[in-house]
């Protein structure tokens, strides 16, 4: 966990890509879940944030 947080602080690609992937996955789950309409409403914003983040952080150093 400490390594992951250090990677985030030092702007390393691995942890940031992981974070972006988690956001994308969370967005997809929110989009398709049958329980909360508010989660469906915000799903696109979460997925979009994750996707844009993924594109940006893929240019970070290893």
């Amino acid at each position: 966990m400490t390594r992951f947080l250090n990677g985030l602080l030092r702007l390393r690609r691995g942890p940031w890509e992981m974070l972006a992937s988690i956001l994308i996955a969370l967005g997809v789950v929110m989009l398709m879940q049958p329980l909360f309409l508010w989660a469906y409403t915000w799903s696109f914003l979460v997925t979009l944030t994750g996707t844009v983040m993924f594109i940006v952080v893929s240019h970070f150093p290893e």
Binding site: I24, M32, Y40, S43, F44, T51
Partner: protein, 315 residues
């Protein structure tokens, strides 16, 4: 001084293109070769994407080209993301997505594990299992419609044979409860071989000496399976899951031919809803916003897919 015919012909011939382009740098030459591809990419992919984003911010209707187009900002996105019907089609897609992936992974991995064991007729069985994957989704959709017919359908008779239920008492594609499972069964039948092939590639990439070393250490077959086979096949399995996930998220042809989204809107997957909004209700701006939402979702999943693929390559 008189010239020979050959010399006259040579003098009249324009200089070869190689001679004329001699002054061009390697970089310019590279750009000249790449330019047609870039142009096609821009014309076929990038321009339609930008145009769709622009349309998604308007109330444009493709069947009323003369009507005034109003700039509506993010209102289309807001309406889609609060629309109960669209939410329902997302849930139908989720049901389809989750169950097809679960079944395809379980059956595909089991088949791959069995096929990986050396036995007589191994290659023949692989070919037979892979056959459904080679068929067109349109063909599959059509012939499963016949298989699901309550009066003449083979599927109903098989179910009847094993369960004793009257074959004409249920309709797989006509029932609200059974139709979502009908499309899951067909997709599983068609695409399990694909998952099986990927798992088989993973299983065959495991060197025998690892199992031999484990056997010398007295590891049981059960332990070998969980500590060698599963971890080494897992990246391949993950790849198959992501690939099928992205494909099934976009599923259109097979389900359209099988159920047409019905009964009601029970099997109306996102791509079918999108087609209805765009080409039946002609709400082009609205459907463009819907397409962008689906695009971002698939693009996000594809990014994870590429990352997973690179990890597999590094192994």
């Amino acid at each position: 001084m008189t010239q020979t015919p050959i010399e006259r012909a040579a003098a009249a011939t324009p200089p070869a293109i190689v001679t004329r382009v001699k002054g061009i740098s390697d970089r310019t030459l590279a750009w000249i070769f790449v330019a047609p591809t870039i142009f096609l990419l821009l014309a076929i992919n990038i321009f339609p994407l930008i145009w769709t984003i622009r349309l998604s911010l308007t109330n444009y209707r493709a069947n009323r080209t003369n009507a005034e187009v109003e700039w509506v900002g993010l209102r289309n996105y807001e309406r889609i993301l609060t629309d109960g019907d669209i939410w329902h089609s997302m849930q139908a897609t989720a049901h389809f997505l989750i169950w097809t992936i679960v079944l395809q992974v379980l059956i595909g991995f089991t088949l791959a594990y069995l096929i990986n064991k050396k036995f007589k007729g191994n290659d023949l069985w692989t070919t037979i299992i892979v056959l459904p994957m080679m068929l067109s989704p349109a063909v599959v959709g059509n012939f499963w419609t016949f298989l699901y017919q309550p009066q003449i359908g083979l599927f109903n008779y098989v179910v009847s044979f094993f369960s004793g239920v009257d074959p004409s008492s249920f309709s797989m594609i006509g029932s609200v409860n059974l139709a979502p499972w009908a499309i899951v069964i067909v997709d599983t039948w068609m695409w399990t071989p694909f998952v099986m092939l990927i798992c088989l590639a993973g299983l065959r990439s495991i060197p025998d000496y690892i199992y031999e070393a484990a056997a010398i250490d007295r590891a049981s077959p059960w332990r070998q399976f969980w500590t060698i086979t599963v971890p080494m096949v897992l990246p391949f399995l993950m790849l198959a899951v992501l690939f099928r996930g992205i494909e099934n998220f976009k599923m259109f042809d097979m389900v359209t031919l099988l159920t047409g989204g019905g009964p009601g809107s029970t099997t109306e997957l996102t791509s079918i809803t999108l087609k209805r909004e765009a080409f039946e209700k002609w709400r082009t701006g609205y459907s463009s916003a819907y397409a962008i939402i689906l695009f971002v979702t698939v693009f996000g999943l594809a990014s994870i897919y590429v990352k997973a693929l690179n990890k597999v390559k590094e192994r």
